[in-house]
């Protein structure tokens, strides 16, 4: 038996030696890019920026501390892969993209179409399909250069955390490379990406009409009046039609996008007060059940029925406001419902009338009525979406005024 075992092991080792060992690279021989930036080039087609975290150990006496410097290397190239090769020849270690957390694409490039880059990135075995896609309103290179973590030391963790904030703000989404690729090549929806910018940036001339100027969630990336040194900011969404950038959504619209796509978790919104002409009331908004969507084709155009259920806790108090009073509560609820409805419809009609792109993936609800893919493709949902009519129902409930019963 031992003889058989030796013979078997011998053959196995011979067989696997052909494949094994030769692509082994010690982890210290690689340089890990934590972010990839893609810009429109000046002469050539493209400017590729890679942000490297350079692990360096400074040992003082007994304890060894690790801190990380980041450097951004930019190269002019024709394609992403040739750019990586050029960078390889320039830096000392081999580039490895397996720890890239974000892919930043500049707005100017996105307007022209980015499907080529997305495909080559998803085709690269090193790039994680779950790294996030950010469309920056400035240069991608500047975006990476200005990522200055305040509370962390490492860029990689910073990128992980900063994008997770949409879970509790709802002001943007966490689009990954694979999400983007699937929507890009699917027939039910258009892709959407995170909108990013440096804040404060050169003043943008925003042409978007803002529904409530006095409410604090109608900003886009780079516009938030934060008094601070330059840093990057992710807020709002970049809306694509096919692979071309067609528009931007601000923070509050992003929140309703999340509600429609069932990704919403919680956020804080400010609704006009029913008791005070100019006053506002802050509500902590939570999901109270899945958003139900029903799509039907009426007279050749889609009729989309959306039922949203939300609940809220009152955060702010006004003087002499008695929230134990049922009348007051229902007045506040009515106000909030009309606010939500109004904004939701605004968001929906902007996507259909202005951008003509179904970023909330309503197509998948209609898809079930078609037996064959030919029937579905004949319908041409993505161009039909522009004629959509929306009907929105909101079930909304104020749960509790938190701690204060009567002020």
């Amino acid at each position: 038996m031992i003889k058989h075992f030796i013979v078997l092991s011998f053959f196995v080792i011979i067989l696997f030696s052909i494949t094994g060992c030769y692509d082994a690279r010690g982890l210290e021989t690689l340089s890990y890019a934590v972010a990839i930036g893609i810009d429109k080039g000046n002469d050539n087609l493209l400017r590729l920026s890679l942000q490297f975290a350079a692990p360096s150990s400074g040992s003082n006496n007994s304890s060894t501390q690790q801190f990380t410097d980041t450097t951004v290397t930019t190269v002019e190239c024709s394609t992403i892969n040739s750019g990586i090769n050029l960078i390889n020849s320039y830096i000392s270690k081999q580039v490895n993209l397996s720890h890239a957390k974000i892919i930043v694409i500049s707005e100017s490039l996105a307007i022209e179409g980015i499907s080529e880059y997305i495909s080559s990135l998803i085709n690269n075995i090193e790039v994680r399909p779950d790294c996030n896609i950010i469309i920056s309103r400035c240069n991608a290179e500047d975006f990476l250069n200005n990522s200055k973590p305040r509370l962390e030391t490492l860029s990689a963790r910073y990128y992980e955390h900063v994008l997770n904030s949409s879970k509790y703000t709802g002001y943007t989404t966490t689009t990954t490379l694979s999400d983007f690729y699937i929507s890009l090549n699917g027939s039910t929806s258009h892709p959407v990406a995170i909108l990013g910018d440096i804040n404060p940036s050169s003043p943008h001339t925003s042409t978007d009409n803002v529904p409530y100027v006095d409410l604090d969630s109608s900003y886009k990336a780079g516009e938030t009046p934060i008094k601070n040194s330059t840093n990057l900011e992710n807020m709002g969404l970049a809306v694509f039609h096919g692979d071309k950038l067609v528009g931007e959504l601000n923070a509050i619209e992003s929140l309703f996008h999340l509600i429609c796509t069932n990704e919403f978790d919680s956020s804080v919104i400010s609704v006009p007060s029913p008791f005070n002409q100019n006053g506002i009331i802050d509500l902590s908004l939570h999901e109270n059940g899945k958003t139900n969507v029903d799509v039907s084709i009426l007279n050749g155009s889609p009729y989309i029925n959306i039922h949203v259920s939300l609940l809220a806790y009152v955060l702010s108090m006004e003087d002499n406001l008695d929230l134990t009073n049922e009348k007051n509560i229902s007045a506040l609820e009515d106000n909030a419902i009309s606010y939500i409805k109004e904004n939701l419809l605004d968001y929906l009609y902007r996507t259909s009338n202005e951008f003509h792109s179904d970023i909330a993936d309503f197509g998948k609800y209609e898809l079930k009525d078609y037996l064959t893919i030919e029937d579905w493709e004949k319908l041409d949902w993505l161009s039909l979406y522009a004629n959509s009519t929306f009907h929105v129902e909101v079930s909304f409930e104020i749960k509790s005024p938190y701690l204060l019963i009567k002020n």
């Binding site: 092991s9 696997f16 690279r25 975290a53 060894t64 490492l154």
Partner: protein
């Protein structure tokens, strides 16, 4: 003619003496011829000799017996062989006699007081003669001739029945039995004119007393451990089992040492075929010597190539008794404080004797921890090297940077570093075990702390690797069974090499082959992964995780015991009527 590569190699390089040399000078021509023939044809002389001893009966002349034994035991050069010649007085007659025993194995007080004294002292019983024994029972007178029916005086019976106040004494007529008894501490009494000798038990050698277990320490539970003496060990078992169904069969192994072995089992529980198989294997060993239970384990295990243990070795009588009651067989080897329990399957080696004393929730938690420990002890260094060489994307970015930063100043590749550290770790462990015990802990401290710290400061080893090796070491220590922990440590090196050569593919491949071999392994007919492979549907008391004690109702299926239930369906009668 089949000639392997090995034979060719040996014929070229190995030393092959042309002729065999003998260093004794032959005296006659005949002997010379005999010797030259004997080298090739005859059996080894030892075997011949033992055959002779076996058949030799005891002579009636005490002098011949004495000479025979003197020659056998080389009394001229053997220092501890004692022969006490004396004159036995019985029936007012004097008989030549001698006692034959080995100094140090006997209790001289017993010999003095209870053997020599009644035999030698001119007491009334001895001198008192004809009156009693030669007294005519009846006298018939016929034709002037008186026929006296006399009860014949039988010296042998007289000594056996009246002279030796000893509980354990036997009459033997073969030298072989006498010699083996003397070797184990009896004394032999030879008396002139008798064709039997007496083997009198006067054992009194010094042995270690029962003490606390050294290597299987528990918090709650018995604090007794087996010792070297076989009878003490069997008595420890009997004291716990406390039932007449416990059978302790004796046999011996080793043509020279005749090591006593006790095979213990519960007659009404253990499967007969299992007992028969154990006895068959032990009785069919043709070895010269057997000194420890570790040797016996290797001689009777099913698979000798794979390093995994197939029998439980324990120094705890309560553990052995517990397994006896499960229906297993316990084998005690004289001279070794570790008894063997068979069959042994994988789960037995992951179980600590503490487990049955604890509530099942805690035992199960400990078992989960031990399984994790076994996983890490086997695979952690291999996984580390696979990840760092092939699968960098698998670890969190921050950890990756920490490892990369710590490795920046290390001059060696990871494989060299890890093998260096693993070997030093084994060295420290081996050194710690081998040095005299007062220095032992110092070695550990010097080796582990100072050397590790210095190696890190000198940038020879990365600190992460110290963590990996230390975790692996701690994990291997937490495996309750010594030999299982050994085999995991051994296979760890194979997984390091596989991880280095082929990454996770190699480790997966290694696990695949390893598991095939283990699934194929059987210990005394029981599959190694019982009761899960093959799956047993009924819940029994042997399983990977313990059920509450009132639920352990059935004995293990794979043991096929005669008595399948361990308790009634409702064991807590006080609670549920």
């Amino acid at each position: 003619m089949k000639k392997t590569f090995k034979d060719v190699l040996y014929s070229i390089f190995a030393y092959n003496p042309e002729e065999s040399y003998r260093f004794d000078l032959p005296e006659t021509q005949n002997e010379q011829e005999e010797n030259s023939e004997m080298n090739f044809t005859q059996n080894p002389p030892g075997e011949n000799q033992t055959q002779q001893i076996k058949e030799q009966t005891i002579y009636t002349s005490v002098d011949v017996n004495l000479d025979y034994l003197k020659v056998k035991y080389n009394t001229l050069i053997n220092s501890d062989i004692n022969i006490r010649e004396f004159t036995l007085i019985a029936n007012n007659k004097e008989y030549k006699a001698f006692l034959f025993y080995i100094d140090g194995m006997i209790d001289s007080k017993i010999i003095n007081d209870f053997v020599l004294e009644p035999l030698m002292l001119r007491s009334k019983a001895n001198t008192h003669t004809n009156d009693n024994d030669n007294k005519s029972k009846s006298i018939a007178i016929a034709n002037n001739i008186s026929v006296r029916r006399v009860k014949k005086f039988q010296l042998e019976n007289y000594i056996y029945n009246s002279l030796i106040p000893q509980n354990s004494i036997s009459k033997e007529d073969k030298f072989s039995k006498i010699i083996s008894d003397v070797n184990s501490g009896n004394c032999a009494l030879f008396i002139d004119t008798l064709s039997n000798a007496f083997s009198i038990e006067v054992k009194g050698f010094k042995s270690r007393s029962v003490s606390t277990p050294n290597n299987e320490v528990v918090v709650r539970g018995a604090q007794e451990a087996f010792v070297e003496a076989i009878r003490v060990n069997t008595s420890l078992l009997r004291r716990i089992i406390n039932n007449e169904n416990l059978i302790i069969e004796n046999t011996d192994v080793g043509s020279i040492t005749r090591t006593k072995i006790a095979i213990c089992y519960m007659k009404n529980i253990a499967n007969d075929e299992l007992v028969a198989e154990v006895k068959y294997r032990i009785n069919n060993l043709d070895v010269d010597s057997l000194v420890s239970s570790g040797e016996l384990e290797q001689l009777i295990q099913d698979n000798t190539h794979i390093g995994f243990p197939q029998m439980i070795a324990t120094e705890r009588p309560d553990k052995a008794a517990h397994h006896l009651l499960e229906g297993r067989v316990v084998v005690v080897v004289n001279g070794n404080p570790y008894v063997l329990i068979m069959p042994g399957i994988l789960i037995d080696f992951m179980v600590s004797p503490e487990d049955i004393n604890l509530r099942h929730q805690f035992s199960n938690l400990l078992r989960v921890i031990r399984f994790i420990a076994a996983f890490f002890a086997l695979l952690l260094p291999g996984i580390y090297i696979a990840i760092s060489n092939y699968h960098q994307e698998l670890i969190p970015t921050e950890l990756l940077f920490a490892i990369a930063a710590s490795r920046q100043t290390i001059p060696f590749p990871i494989i060299f570093e890890i093998i260096l550290m693993e070997i030093s770790f084994e060295l420290i462990r081996e050194a710690g075990l081998r040095v005299p015990s007062p220095i032992g802990p110092t070695i550990g401290i010097v080796g582990a702390l100072i050397l590790g710290e210095a190696a890190v400061s000198a940038n020879i080893i990365s600190p992460i690797l110290i963590i990996i090796v230390a975790i692996t070491g701690i994990c291997s220590f937490s495996i309750p069974d010594f030999s299982l922990s050994f085999s995991l440590r051994f296979y760890r090196f194979i997984y390091i090499i596989l991880g280095f050569l082929f990454g996770f593919l190699g480790i997966g491949l290694g696990l695949f082959i390893h598991s095939i071999i283990l699934f194929n392994l059987r210990s005394f007919g029981v599959p190694y992964f019982s009761p899960y492979v093959p799956l047993e549907t009924t819940k029994t008391e042997v399983s990977y995780f313990l059920t509450p004690i009132w639920k352990r109702e059935k004995r293990a299926d794979f043991l096929e015991t005669k008595r399948s239930r361990t308790q009634d369906k409702i064991s807590q009668k006080w609670k549920y009527k």
